[in-house]
Amino acid sequence: MANPKKVLNDPKQVVAEMIDGLVLANDGRVRKLPNHAAIVRTDLPDSKVALLIGGGSGHEPLFHGFVGRNMGDGAACGQVFAAPSPDIIYEAAKVVHRGKGILFLYGNYAGDNMNFDIAAEMLEDDGIDVRTVRVTDDVAAAPPERTHDRRGIAGDIYMIKIAGGAASELDTLDEVERVARKAVANVRSIGVAVAAGSIPETGKLTFELADDEIEIGMGAHGEAGVSRQKMKSADAIADELMEKVLSDLPFRAGDEVALMINNLGATTMMEMLIVNRRIRQILDSQGIKVHRSDVGTWLTVQEMAGFSVTLMRLDDELKRYLDMPAESLGYSRM
């Protein structure tokens, strides 16, 4: 099979070139650290709790596209699908730190956990207070009693939004951490893959799916899901995803939720809106109220086709931070 067709220069330089392009696309609101693959805000207030996000590249606009007002203060960027190294995280943390400690927020993967932990230990040696919240929203990754084994997928975006809002408004790292932990306890997602994506440097698809197959629960790097099955209707897919997500927390009648449908890459918005229609029928029938919706492209897996559904149960505090205006390349709202 021919390599997937992509508009690239040197496949080994994709991350470096992408970062250059990303900084320019931010119209001056962020900059890159001179010697490290990290993005930081140029308009950071003098005093605030810092929010550092990050992870492997290749999921654009996640994470480095979410640096900006009421979002991340900085992002450490790894290579494609590879957690950033401790030195990148450490340097970015040093730059965003404003004397009130730093919240590390990232998806729960062995690589990210280890690299961020090493950086946290280095920062603690420097006397900087670091707390870590790992996003664990993927219900397909492990049973409910092992949420700490779950991957972080599109729940990342709501988490960044809430932690970003909280880190702008709240005065202490304790408080910001408390809000982020509450949010992560209330967010659940599941994805479905329709076609594979590829890593630019290897040129290889990260998994294989037959022409008539989909995989429910596939992870954001092509990790195995909960079931591979024949393609079925949008409604049937939505039904299955919702069954898994709703029963997990579980979400109950009377709950108010934020609903995100996230494009993993090559799926059309038309498909996602058709799925949204069914999801709303299901939520309606169960007495669950949608406080806000987001349908778009935020966490991608290169050109993978498929999407994920995220629900976060909200209280007044989470609503407040989730609904704050936000400004970044990848997510912006009035």
Binding site: G56, G78, Q79, V80, F81, A82, A83, P84, S85, P86, D87, I88, Y109, A110, G111, M114, N115, D117, I118, A140, A141, A142, D149, R151, I199, E201, T202, K204, T206, F207, G217, G219, H221, G222, E223, A224, G225
Partner: protein, 214 residues
Amino acid sequence: MPDMSDTLDLDATINMLKFVSRSVIDQTDLLTDADLAIGDGDHGIGMRRGFEGALEAMDATPPDSIENALKTVGTAIMSKTGGAAGAIFGTLFRAGSKPLAGRDVLDGEGFATFLDTGLEAVLKRGGVTEGQKTMIDAIAPAARAARRGADAGLRQAIAAAAAASQQGVEATRDMIATTGKARSLGERSLGHPDPGAISVSLILKAMQDFTAGA
């Protein structure tokens, strides 16, 4: 008493580490394919980035001690590889280098100590134990074999470690992953060896080839 011809001095150690680096870089595709089967398909390019960085670093500032040679490799991997492998292999080399401080030659005992200490640090960092289908399943038996063979000299210690790690790789085929990106595969991970374990065996095999030829 140790056979002094069966040790590596600083230059030889550096040469061995360069040989190891080139050997792993040569196997990029094999490692990538192994990671495609049960992970995300980036292990090969990650290890290549790390060992290319190691070569550059050793060329830029030739290490002035055996400890620093190993540490230089570890630091390069830690900062260039990224992902799980960067943290794990970086920690292995960096932590493993420490007890060799002040030593002028690498002998069997030193090599065993490098592996023991590196293993301990990696276990702590990764929070996994043997049997979870990770590189631990190659490095742990290798460290035990090296310790057993330490008195017989460096060549023997390395050869024993390499053989044990290769058996470890084979053993990972029969394990179900309970950590890392392969975890959610469950039983579907059966039959496939762990990519990180393969990297361990490639590293030790290269050391064996180097010392055998040395």
